[in-house]
Every structure is written in C-alpha cells, then in structure tokens.
C-alpha cells in the first residue's frame, strides 16, 4: 500500500504525462524536438491515439488482476482512466483551437454532418460522468450504481476505436490493431460472464463478474 502510494503511483503518473510533455516540447521546437511539417496534425493525432491507448490500458487492469491476483492493478485503474479522459480533452481542445481555428460553426457542421466526428463526440460526452464520479467518495456514495455507470467504459471504447477507424483515409492497420485488442478485452469479459458452466463451481461461490 505504502509502496504503491509513494513510489509506484507517482512514477506511473509521470510516465503517463510523458506523451503530453513531449508534444509540448515539440510544439515549441525546444531542444531540437520537432513535430514535423504539420504540427497541428501531429498534436491532434498523437493525443487521440494516446486517449485510445489509455482506454485500452484501463480495460486491461481487471484481466490483469484476475490473472495475477495482485491488487496493484486495481489501484492504477482510476489513474489510467483519468489519463484517457485527459488525452481526449486535449485531442478535442486541439481540434477546436488549432485545427479548426475556433470556427465553432465549422466544428458544429463537422459534428452533425460527419459520422466519425459524431461518434467521437459522443464518446467524449459519455466519458464526462465517468471522470466526474471517479473519486473514492463518489464511488462510496453511488455504490452499485457506480459500477453500473462505469460500465459505460465499454461503449465508450467501442465508439473511440470506431471513430479512429472511420477517420483514417485508407490505411486501417493501426485502428485494426486497436480493434483487435479491444475485442480481446471485451471478449474476456463476455467469457467471464457467460463461460460454459461444465466445470464451474456451485453458484454460491462463483465470484461476481
């Protein structure tokens, strides 16, 4: 507990900030770091990419806990989830401020006219209540409802990967990798819930899904 609080968590926190710090350095061309000829595109896509990665990392925590029986994964889950939210917000802010130059009319047109932006927007909106109820106090207060609410992470992750898939011009290899990893992670949960009962233990002692 202490080691995790005073050592592991701060280390992981700093590591999770890494991509953002790198982008910040690159955006100002410090120490020879460059984001290439189209830095706005690079900022936009790198943040979106990390948002998805953090969503998938968050979804890895439960399977890792089940496999290793270590509690440490559970402790990191909230931080990863909040970093997913952090990178989604950065992605969205860069889209509005740098990519669309604050032309809110154009942004609104994008949201209503372009399905891949619509679903990306929806994923972002759904993430807000999750981030807002991420504290231990909220978790206690909401009890079972908290668990229900936070199952939204599944549709959010699906919408996020779908948004990426639809947005790429032609080369779908990377969104395909995301989709495969997500399918595994969701498949694991389905399997846990509906696994064949042949060898299962009596219902009373089955762990909760």
């Amino acid at each position: 507990m202490t080691a995790s609080r005073w050592l592991l968590k701060p280390l992981v926190f700093v590591a999770c900030l890494g991509p953002a710090i790198y982008l910040l350095i690159g955006a100002f061309n410090l120490w020879g770091v460059s984001l290439g000829a189209d830095p706005v595109h690079e900022l936009l896509h790198t943040c979106g990419n990390w948002a998805l990665k953090f969503l998938l990392i968050t979804l890895c925590m439960t399977p890792l806990r089940d496999m290793t029986h270590a509690i440490v994964w559970q402790r990191l889950r909230r931080m990863f989830g909040l970093f997913a939210f952090f990178y989604v917000i950065l992605h969205f802010a860069i889209y509005i401020v740098l990519d669309q130059s604050d032309q809110l009319g154009a942004v609104w047109q994008d949201i209503i006219k372009r399905p891949y932006i619509t679903i990306g927007m929806l994923a972002l909106l759904l993430l807000i209540p999750l981030a807002a109820t991420s504290t231990a106090a909220m978790q206690r207060r909401l009890g079972r409802r908290w668990t229900m609410l936070h199952r939204l992470i599944y549709p959010i992750a699906i919408l996020g990967v779908w948004h990426y898939w639809w947005g790429v011009k032609k080369d779908i290899r990377e969104p395909l990798v995301f989709a495969c990893v997500l399918s595994l992670l969701l498949g694991y949960r389905l399997f846990k819930r509906y696994r064949p009962r042949l060898h299962s233990r009596p219902l009373a002692v089955r762990e909760r899904v």
Binding site: A27, G36, A37, D38, P39, V40, H41, V97, L98, D99, Q100, S101, Q103, A106, Q109, D110, K113, R114, Y116, W166, G167, K169, K170, D171
Partner: protein, 320 residues
C-alpha cells in the same frame, strides 16, 4: 528497350532542328550567365543523370508564381503522401533514399502514332526546363507552395502524335515491390495510376516535373518524373511515371477506384464539394505558426481563370 536513336519518327534529321533551337535558346540564357551553350547542355544532362539533388539549368517562368513565399525545402521533402514508400507523411523521405531512378524508361502506348519504350534521357532531351511556383492543395485539406522545375506536359505528349481517338491520357507508376515497400501491401491497388482528359493534359498549366528548388527531384517527391496539375488535388500528381497511355475511354484511377464516393476522376480543387468525411471549404497551410487560421480554399486552387472554361456546362458536384 528501344531508344529514340533507333526510333525514326522521333529522331529523323528534321527533328534535330528543334534541338538546335533549344540549343540557341539555352545559349542566350547561358550567355547571360557566362556559360557556353554546350556546357549548359552537358551540365543539364549530367545533373539529370546524377539523380536527386543535382543542380538543374532552368529559366524562371515569371508567369507562374505565387505572391507568398514557397514552403521550405525541408517541409516539401519530408511531408509527403507517397504510399509506395509507406502511408505516414515522413515514411517516403525515410524509405525512398535507396530508390533507383537511373536508369529509367518510359513506355508510351495506345492511341498515338509514335509508341515504344524510351529512356529518360530521350524523354527529357528536347525540353528546356522552367521553374514555376505553384500552389499545392492536398485532398486532406492542407496546402503548400512549391517551386517545381519541369516542362509543359503538352510539349512531351505532342511528340508522340496522339491520334483523334486519344481522348484521355493514363499514367502509371513503376511497379517494383522490391524497391517500393508499400507495394508489398494492399492498401491501394498497385501500380498507382492516374489520368487526365486530353484537354487537361494539354493545358499549359500541366507540368511534367523533374525538379524542386532548382535541383533534381528528391526521390520522395516523385523522381525521376512526376505530374503536377495545380488546379487538382495533389493525388492527381502521379509520381515515378514509367508508362503513358493514350486511350479513348476514361481510365480507372487509383484513388477513385479505392473509394469512389470519396475521390473522383476529375478531383478539381473545389471548396463547394466536401469530402464525405471532412470539409474542403478551408485548408491548413503548412509551415505557419501553430495558431494560424485555416485559409479559405479557392475554386480550382486559385487557377479558375485559366481552367474553369475546361468544365463549362459540367455539374462539378457530380463530376468531383
């Protein structure tokens, strides 16, 4: 491979005359610069034989310029869409360095009197080079300004004497998966091919391009021979051309074939026709500051005065 030297219609004595004219024209230019004409020609050929980075002799065509400064050589040569060398923007500059652009040949076929396979040197020999500064608008809604070096495509096509059946021209990129790693995958249908209506191909703005910033084209920009059609989206500018075919019917083109609802044969820059997944009304100009505003995209990329008449009476919403 057949060379021009063995190919009578292009190499009979009367055809040498244009080269004399060419020589004397070069001599005038060169005279002003203190070179002898022979040296200039030799220089020109040597540079082209060298491959990427060799200096070219050219004149600046002041008729084709843009008020704003061109993008940096670095931006133009590291931010490329050239899927034969990878789908990332920096992949071509990283993966095309070992690409062999010499020796090179171009096959001409279809509805023309003169056909055959010609060496790059034979293709280029009679054409004085000029520099033109053009706007470049990518279908992905970004833009640049680029100082190309080349010669009018029409001058080249006329040498092959297209027949009355030649309504379209089709261009094909080299198919060589050993050298072009992207061609080992199936992200597009290889080899890349593009096409123009014959009047578009013969339009004076259409440039057969061999250089950038006064030097032989970097491999990642389409060496040794690429097309530039400045009023159309960048993907019409096919790179590493090794086949030119005159045909009667509109050819399939790679991007239009891969996603017909998103990319058309004409691909004229048109702010009024959105790509289904993004707006074409504005563009991000490469090379500015992070907080630069998007710019309005111009009809025909700003070349409407020159080319709009090619499309009179056509529904450009339908023929996008």
């Amino acid at each position: 491979m057949r060379k021009f030297a063995q190919y009578s219609p292009l190499c009979n004595p009367s055809d040498i005359t244009p080269e004399h004219k060419f020589l004397s024209r070069r001599a005038l230019i060169a005279g002003g610069m203190g070179f002898a004409a022979a040296q200039v020609l030799g220089f020109h050929r040597r540079a082209l034989a060298q491959g990427a980075g060799g200096a070219l002799m050219f004149t600046r065509n002041a008729k084709y310029t843009v008020a704003e400064a061109p993008n940096s050589f670095k931006d133009i040569s590291t931010y490329n869409n050239y899927y034969e060398f990878g789908t990332g923007k920096s992949d071509p500059s990283e993966n095309a360095q070992q690409f062999h652009t010499r020796p090179w040949s171009v096959t001409v076929e279809g509805e023309s009197e003169i056909k055959g396979t010609f060496t790059l040197e034979d293709i280029l020999k009679p054409h004085p080079l000029e520099e033109r500064i053009y706007r470049m608008r990518c279908v992905e809604a970004w833009s640049m300004i680029v100082p190309w070096v080349g010669f009018p495509l029409s001058d080249l096509l006329k040498r092959f004497k297209p027949t009355s059946k030649a309504k379209f021209v089709q261009f094909t990129t080299l198919l060589d998966p050993k050298q072009m790693p992207g061609e080992r995958g199936s992200v597009l249908n290889w080899p890349y091919s593009e096409g123009l209506r014959i009047d578009e191909a013969m339009h004076p703005l259409t440039l057969m391009t061999v250089g950038l910033y006064g030097k032989v084209l970097p491999n990642q920009n389409g060496a040794p021979l690429r097309l530039i059609v400045p009023w159309k989206y960048g993907f019409k500018g096919i790179k590493a051309i090794n086949r030119i075919k005159f045909i009667e019917r509109m050819p399939e083109t790679t991007w239009a074939e891969s996603a017909p609802s998103e990319y058309g044969f004409y691909a004229n820059v048109n702010p009024a026709v959105d790509h289904p997944r993004w707006s074409q009304a504005t563009e991000r100009h490469i090379g500015g500051s992070l907080f630069d505003q998007r710019r309005p995209t111009l009809p025909f990329n700003g070349y409407d005065k020159e080319v709009a008449s090619l499309y009179t009476g056509m529904n450009l919403q339908k023929f996008f």
